[in-house]
Every structure is written in structure tokens, then in C-alpha cells.
Symmetry: C2
Subunit: 387 residues, 2 copies
């Protein structure tokens, strides 16, 4: 069991009508609010009006239009400028993980005099950040309960995971009803994203019985509940269970005490969505079984056997290699069954830039230190197998 130093100070307010507590939570932080959101889905579901009504006594500046795979330019830069101009005291992020990730970068940038990219690229360590409150409307990234965000810089094809303990949201509001209208495509991608977060922690050199059980429970819960959500998008319990399993995805609790894996699938996928702006969860689902097959070896076999038996209920009396292969097949089959396109070509990625992406990943992501070290050639093989 590995040492750890862990704290997640975020308050989670979960359940039907959770956001009735929003004014109280906001009032403790400030009156001048930057309200960040995305493409307007929060208006369709009535959440925007509800928030404006709840915060009618606050002074609100809006930053709408934050995109999936949120962009440094214009979103982060616009947000930082608005915070400085308006003397913003607290950021309220309403939407999915992309809006929140962007809000985190803004929160740090707003308290820094230089170019915010200095912070995101870890050239400079942030000394302060504005407090963040969020209302999450998509079960996926877990950004509502972690201190990181992923920011894309288009001109350099960079997609950087920016992590700093200053960036834990002060309070996250989770009302599963606000995910009822999430499309089948995004529901499935969110499930794949959250499953992958767990797999990145589960597939490692050293894990505990407790953490393995937590991860296996998370994976099983996500698979069962995502299916229900796809069949009946307004099933409160399934939306709620899926939302909460996602929320715990990146805050560490699934695997405190496990050794670091290096998050190889995320490292590879970040290049895909930086180069092609694809849906992150879909990219992960495509990469996952190919990465698994690539790293399956005598050394990793016991992990795949445990995964196959405990997550998919594969007969433990079968030969180990057979269990492992069945487990990888079952992973692929599950993602396919929830409607995810399982080939890169289906999401618009051909072989043209594979070499370039493999090189970019090998140079930037440190995968030589991953659970199973990956060279540029390994990365290329995984990408080619994913086409």
C-alpha cells in the first residue's frame, strides 16, 4: 500500500432540488459573480432562469459559450479579463465538466498578473484562486469533486490537465434531474469517461483489496445505470447513481493507496481530442480495449483476470489468458452496446496524423513511466489498432 496525502474539502450537495441551498453557499463567498456556462442547454432545461432567480440579489457577469474541450483562447482569456474588470469575487459554473474545467483555469488566472498560460503549463505555481461553486449538469468528468481541469490550446495542439489544490470547488450542487435531458451520445460518453477514470486507477502495479472493491463497484454501477439511463432518460435513481459514481471518479477515493498508473489512456486521448476536437469519452472508449490488448502480458495478466471475474462475472475457473481476453472483449462490447462508435475513423480520425500524434504524446506525456511503459512505437500501435 502506497503513502498518500489526501484532502477533498469540497462540499457536495446532492439530490432533488439541491440548488435551493445555492444562495446561502454563494453569499458566504461574495456578491460579484462570474456565471459561466456553455451552449445554452441550461436555458432549455430551465436551470438558467432558476439560477438567475435564486441569485437575484447578486451582481452577475456572464461568460457564456464555453465549448467542450474548453479553449484557452477565447474562453479562459475572456473569463480572466472579465474577472479583473468587474472585480469578480466568486465563479459560478453551470454546466458539464468542460464549463467547470474552464472556470477553474479562470479562477487561477484571475488572481495572477501574468499570462494565465504560465499557470496552466506549470511554469508558475498559482498563489491564489477565486472560489468556485458549480452546478453540474452532466455525469462524466468528476471535475465537481477534484482540483483539476483540462484546457486546450488550439494553435499548439496542447491539451493540458491543470491540477492545483487551490482549484477544488468550494461547493458542488448535483441534482440528477438536470441530467434527464442529456443526449444518448453524451450519456454514453460520460459513462465511458467515468469508467475510464476508474480503470486508470485500477490498472496499476500495487493496489489494495479495498480499492479494488471500490473500483469494481464503480465500474459495475456505471454499466448497469448507464444502460437504464439510455433506456429511460428520466429514471431518477439511475441518473442519480450514475452521477455520484462519476463524481468520485477523479478525486482519488476510488484508489487511495494504489500506485500511480500514469493515466496512459487519458494521455493518448488528450492528443486525439486536441488534434480533432472529438468527444473525450468516445475517444477514451475507443482507446481502452486497444490499450488493454497492447499491455496484456504475463506481468499484467493477474490484473485482467481480477477485472474479468469481478467486473464482468467471467468464470474464474477458465484459463487466465482466456479470462483476460474475454474481459477485453467484454469491455469493447459494453461500449459498443451503449452506442459509442468504436473506431477512430467513425469519429473522423484517419491515419494521416497518427505519426504526429504518437510523437506528440511520447514527447509530452511521460508514458515511459506508466504502469506499462509506452514508447512512441507502442503509442502508434495502439492508435493504429484503434483506427
Amino acid at each position: 500500500m502506497q503513502n498518500f496525502d489526501y484532502m477533498t474539502p469540497t462540499r457536495l450537495v446532492f439530490g432533488e432540488n439541491a440548488i435551493r441551498k445555492l444562495p446561502e453557499a454563494m453569499a458566504a463567498l461574495g456578491r460579484r459573480v462570474l456565471l459561466t456556462y456553455g451552449g445554452g442547454s441550461i436555458k432549455k432545461i430551465g436551470l438558467y432562469d432558476r439560477v438567475r432567480e435564486l441569485l437575484k440579489d447578486f451582481e452577475i457577469t456572464e461568460l457564456p459559450g464555453i465549448q467542450p474541450n474548453p479553449k484557452y483562447d477565447p474562453s479562459v482569456l475572456d473569463g480572466v479579463r472579465l474577472c479583473k474588470e468587474k472585480g469578480i469575487e466568486v465563479i459560478l459554473s453551470v454546466g458539464g465538466g468542460s464549463v467547470l474545467d474552464c472556470s477553474k483555469a479562470i479562477a487561477a488566472g484571475a488572481c495572477y498578473d501574468g499570462d494565465p498560460w504560465d499557470l496552466i503549463s506549470y511554469k508558475v505555481k498559482a498563489k491564489a484562486a477565486l472560489p468556485i461553486v458549480d452546478i453540474i449538469t452532466l455525469a462524466a468528468t468528476g471535475s465537481e469533486y477534484d482540483s483539476g481541469g483540462v484546457i486546450s490550446r488550439t494553435e499548439t495542439n496542447d491539451k493540458i490537465g491543470y491540477i492545483d489544490p487551490l482549484l477544488y470547488p468550494v461547493c458542488s450542487f448535483l441534482d440528477p434531474r438536470y441530467t434527464f435531458s442529456v443526449s444518448k451520445k453524451q450519456t454514453a460518453a460520460g459513462c465511458a469517461d467515468a469508467m475510464n477514470h476508474i480503470m486508470e486507477q485500477y490498472f496499476c502495479e500495487d493496489s489494495t483489496l479495498l480499492n479494488d472493491g471500490f473500483c469494481e463497484a464503480g465500474l459495475k454501477s456505471l454499466m448497469v445505470n448507464a444502460r437504464v439511463c439510455l433506456e429511460n432518460p428520466e429514471d431518477y435513481r439511475a441518473r442519480a447513481e450514475m452521477m455520484f459514481a462519476c463524481t468520485l471518479g477523479c478525486n482519488g477515493i476510488y484508489a487511495l493507496g494504489n500506485s500511480e498508473s500514469g493515466w496512459p489512456m487519458h494521455a493518448i486521448e488528450h492528443a486525439l481530442s486536441a488534434y480533432y476536437d472529438i468527444t473525450h469519452g468516445e475517444g477514451l472508449a475507443i482507446i481502452t480495449p486497444r490499450w488493454m490488448r497492447h499491455i496484456l502480458s504475463e506481468r499484467t495478466l493477474p490484473r485482467f483476470v481480477k477485472y474479468g471475474v469481478n467486473v464482468f462475472g467471467i468464470d474464474a475457473s477458465l484459463p487466465a489468458q482466456e479470462i483476460a481476453e474475454k474481459a477485453i472483449d467484454a469491455t469493447y462490447a459494453f461500449f459498443e452496446s451503449i452506442g459509442i462508435p468504436m473506431h477512430l475513423r467513425e469519429v473522423g480520425i484517419g491515419e494521416e496524423r497518427i505519426d504526429e500524434m504518437a510523437h506528440h504524446i511520447a514527447v509530452n506525456e511521460g508514458l515511459e513511466n506508466a504502469y506499462v511503459p509506452l514508447s512512441e512505437q507502442d503509442i502508434k500501435s495502439i492508435l493504429v489498432a484503434s483506427l
Copy 2:
């Protein structure tokens, strides 16, 4: 799935030599420290000297001698008096859950002008509490990661669980090596305590697939690792896994989203240890299978079936009633196998005060609202079956 409003702001520093970070954590809170501890086992294992050395630049007042089932008088009252006299800024609790529970009551009492019992008995809500840091030396109560403590008042046979969000430790240090010297008796009792914490959350009306998996993983991890700890008290990994599974026991994470059970076994055991000052974990282990058998019914049967199949690996194809009974037998057998005396008479409790205790519990513990409501007669039956 139930609504919840959850936050655990405690920092956990876990692992070998974790306490090297103690001075840094303490310095942020103050220089005038109340050092609380128990009967001196921390001196035997060298921890006392290490702490004094690490804190040589701090001004330390000591409160030694805190007993198991910590007492309001003298421990809490002495601690509160010392805090006020010495202008204590931070409490450092070094020991097991009893020392920490007592320290929490002191932390609140030190910031209150009246009788601290007003706070513990919920007559008055605390407005502030001194910050608490702890070094935990026993895997059991989970007090290091929750906001509660249990305090006994001898003259009234009261044993009250005192809970307030002000009482989360700021920082908890967990080095599994400091549990190497824990006796077999206390190791087994700690395991039973932590298992019972999980059972109190697992046996409820409404639970989720995720939380059931978390709880089942916790129970299995505790059983496997407690056995290893008993065979080889210096097995670092087993001590570490057991310690962490215990740490999560009462902070809610095992069962966020589950409905409240009313913690009936704790309610009953608190009377036992208030009247007879027995080891809490042993009392719980004795009560557990008798409570289970008492509440087994058509309504609760599915829960016991799930428990039996997923925790003890009982054949799912057997008749449900048989699975449930085997599960209860397996629970009893496990506790017995780790050396816990499984009859009240073995820990010095006869039938003399059963009626009085049953009445006390029925009047004070609100078990008419438990998962399975318990009347005074029900409580008496469970106690008699436990003799």
C-alpha cells in the same frame, strides 16, 4: 437514492513516517498545544518521544490518562480547564479513537463559557471549537475522519455520540507501523468496530449498487486483513489496509445516498459499555448476530441474501432463507474465529441489569425509527439472546 449534503475537510496523511509532516501541519494552527493521550502505550512504542522531538519549538501542555470509553469527568473537564488556563490554540491527540473522541469534546468545550455537557447533550449548539490534529494508533473507530466522538458520563450511565461539523480534525496522521504493537484483543475489537460501522450503513431500506459494493469491499477487506494482522502483527500491508478501511468507517463515504438506519447496534452497545465499561468492539460483535437474527424477516431477507452472497461468497442458488441464516452464522463464526468472546457473560455482563438497560436504550436512542424499529421488548430480546 437519498439526498445528501456532505463534506469531509480533514487532510489524511497516510503511510510510513507520515508524521514527519507534523510540525508543518501544527505550525499553521498555533504554538500552544494541548497534547492528549491515554495510558502510556505511545511511550512504549517511542511515539511520545518522537512527537516531543518534532514539536520541540511548540509550547506543550499534556493531558495524559484518557481512558477507553472516555469520561466526561475527569478527562473532558480537565482538558477544557487546561485549554482555558493555558490559552491553548490547537489540540494534538495521540492514540486511539477514545483519546480523539475526548479531544473533540474538549475542543468544543474550550470555546464555550458554560458547562461543556450543554454541548455534548445538544442543549446548546457549539459556535466554535479549537482545531484538532491527531496521530491515530489504533485501527478502529474512524474518529480521525469524522466529526463525532462518544463520551461517557459515569454517574448517569450516559454514553453520548456527540457530532458537530466543527469537530472534523484538521489533519489526521496515520502510520500503520504505530499499530504493530496493538494487542490481539484490540486488533480484533477494532476490526469488529469498523465492520459494524459498515453494517450499520449497509443494513438499511434504500441503498445503491455503488454503496453496496463499497460496503461489501470494506467488510471483506477488514476480514481478510484482520486475520493477517492477528497472525503477523507486523505485516505492514495488512495493518495499512485495515487502518484505511477503518478510517472511512464513519465519515459517510461508504454509504452516501443510503437511507438512515438509526445505527441500532451502536445504540444498544453504547448502553452496555456505559453500564459495564466493556470494550466497544467486543460489545458490538456480540450484539451483531443477535440483532441480525432478530430483524430477519420477509422484508429484510433480500438484504441478508445480498450480504451473504457478496460478503461471504455463499452459493446464490440456495433458498433465500438458508442464505440469510448462513450469513448470520458466518458473521458469528468470523468474530469468534478472531478471538472475540461472543457472549455477554464472558465480558462480565449478566442478566441483572438487562431490564434497566433495555429501558434506558428504548427511552434514549430513538430506535422506534430504526431500519427495523425496535421496542423495549425487542431490545430486551436481543440482549437476552446475547447473554
